[in-house]
Amino acid sequence: MRAWNIRRKALLMGEVQGQGYIGQALGIADVLAASYFHALEYRPEDPEWEGRDRFYLSIGHYAIALYAVLMEAGILPEDELQTYGMDDSRMPMSGMASYTPGMEITGGSLGHGLGIAVGAAMGLKRKKSPALVYNLMSDGELGEGSTWEAAMSAVQHGLDNLVCLVDFNDQQADGRTTDALARVPEEAKWAAFGWHAQRVDGNDLEAVVAALDAARNLAGARPRVIIFDTTMCKGVDFLEKREITHFVRVEADEWAKALAVLEKGKPS
């Protein structure tokens, strides 16, 4: 139900602007729902509570999805939904820490999140804090060298308080990620770097929850990665079938149609 609500809010925001990274938002909704309503510790009324688990959105253009979950979690007021992407909004098209409660870092220049997460995880260890750092990144960011600098470092410093979530939807701006730089099996690559690696269906809520639990409860001083295979535009069948889904073209009349399709699939 939470995931369904996130999809609905994201579609409503997409309708406000008439465009957006709606494909990614629909695809990652289950992972975000499981993260915010199962895995993460936080206080909606105090987004900077020291004891919270940190959730870094490395992929700035997924902001539409994070705003949806922040509203669902009660961190952002739902009535600001209509301001998405507008002048003076707290919800700019690409996520920025200085604009939005609950948006921990400024993402968007890709390959930054995991390195910042490494520093934050080191800092939490210095403070003897039990909080975890989650970094949500895209499969496209696997092509950035800085991702692998951070991956090596997390193992070197024994960061067992770091969980990296990779959205593997096999789409980047110019086409398929596996046609660019991510052809080698990713879970094997991370495992070879010394991480505890899992790969699950990111649109199977039970599998996502189980993977997040396994990552949290793992013994041993290793960082953890979960690669989520997701389907762009999940939940809206006629959009799922579109060929180019990185930046989805949705005609004005199609937003209502998409919402209607989603409505039909509403969980009881």
């Binding site: 910042i116 490494v118 934050a120 800092g123 210095r126 800085s146 600098e149």
Partner: protein, 344 residues
């Protein structure tokens, strides 16, 4: 490769003959004849501060020994992070530590911070105004290793970055004075660093000199020429002033260790005293550094003295021994004096 060396690539060479042959291996410390030196002033000042402030941590990308951060690593190993040869990670991780309430000092060479890690400094650190201190050795022309190690455009790069405070210290006095002041500053700082045996210059010329963040200070008064200098060029200007005094040329030296924000009030006041030739002197390309910053301040305030710039040319520089290169590119004491004499 530089254009000049490329043109001579296939010319065979013979060893230079003589007693004192300069080589490019002389990179450990900056030669400043006649001045006392202090060992690793940055590292010792940081340890002193770290003993008082729990939040101070040091990080480096495989250049601890070459940025004097090894002093901290040896004195307080639990406050030191070796990030490996990974400058993008170095800056990102420093940002992460700053987010969690620490005061990170991240060290590498100036070329690597300004060129390789720029996007990470811009977005992870500067855009969020995080208190990360980036301290970088080998500024400008302080190594003979050629363009791979010569940071001749670092000030121009960081001057373009909002929120960033930029320091170009002259000597050990500046470095020891600045460490606690930049640590107390609310926001990101980029400072150039002199490492190893670092000369003590400013207190020799002005015994009560103390570094003050954001302030330009007159080190030597003079009625004919005003040199506005930063970094090691303040040292060169002071020595050149002594040379020119023998010719009855009276040179004032205004030391401007904080490049951004610039102390425009002091610069305008000094340059506005009519009659003096104003010369900027910097260990940096003439593009985008102190000289152009001063020129803008003067012109936009309608202060228009005769104006000249001493700085590195808009070129990739040659490899070689530092004394040779400083002569070649006009940064040596003799060449500074010669240029000023020629402009009068």
């Amino acid at each position: 490769m530089t254009l000049a060396s490329m043109a001579r690539k296939y010319e065979p060479r013979k060893p230079v003959q003589g007693d004192k042959v300069a080589t490019s291996a002389m990179i450990a410390s900056l030669a400043a004849e006649g001045y006392d030196t202090v060992s690793a002033p940055f590292g010792h000042a940081l340890v002193d501060l770290a003993r008082k402030d729990e939040r101070i941590v040091g990080l480096t990308a495989d250049l601890g020994r070459y940025t004097d951060l090894h002093i901290l690593a040896e004195a307080m190993p639990d406050r030191f992070y070796q990030m490996g040869m990974a400058e993008q990670l170095l800056m990102s991780a420093a940002a992460g530590l700053a987010r969690e309430g620490f005061l990170p000092f991240a060290t590498t060479y100036a070329v690597f911070a300004s060129r390789r890690a720029y996007d990470f400094i811009a977005m992870a650190i500067a855009e969020e105004n995080l208190p990360v201190r980036i301290a970088c050795a080998l500024p400008g022309l302080t190594t003979g290793y050629g363009p791979s190690h010569q940071a001749t455009e670092d000030l121009a790069i960081f001057r373009g970055l909002p929120n960033m405070t930029i320091i170009d210290p002259c000597d050990a006095d500046d470095i020891r004075g600045m460490v606690p002041q930049i640590a107390a500053h609310d926001g990101p700082v980029y400072t150039r660093l002199l490492r190893g045996k670092v000369p003590t210059v400013l207190t020799r010329h002005k015994p009560d000199y103390r570094f003050r963040l954001g302030k330009a200070q007159m080190i030597r008064e003079g009625r004919d020429v005003l040199v506005v200098a930063s970094g090691i060029m303040t040292m060169r200007a002071l020595d050149a002033a002594a040379v020119l005094a023998a010719d009855n040329i009276d040179v004032a030296v205004l030391h401007v260790p904080t490049i951004k924000p610039l102390d425009t009030a002091t610069i305008l006041e000094e340059a506005g005293r009519g009659g003096r030739l104003v010369v900027t002197a910097e260990n940096h390309s003439v593009n985008g550094g102190l000289g152009e910053a001063v020129a803008r301040v003067l012109l936009t305030n309608a202060v228009t003295p005769a104006f000249r710039m001493i700085g590195l040319p808009d070129e990739f520089l040659e490899a070689g021994a530092l004394p040779t290169l400083h002569d070649m590119y006009g940064l040596s004491v003799a060449k500074v004096a010669e240029q000023i004499r020629g402009w009068l």
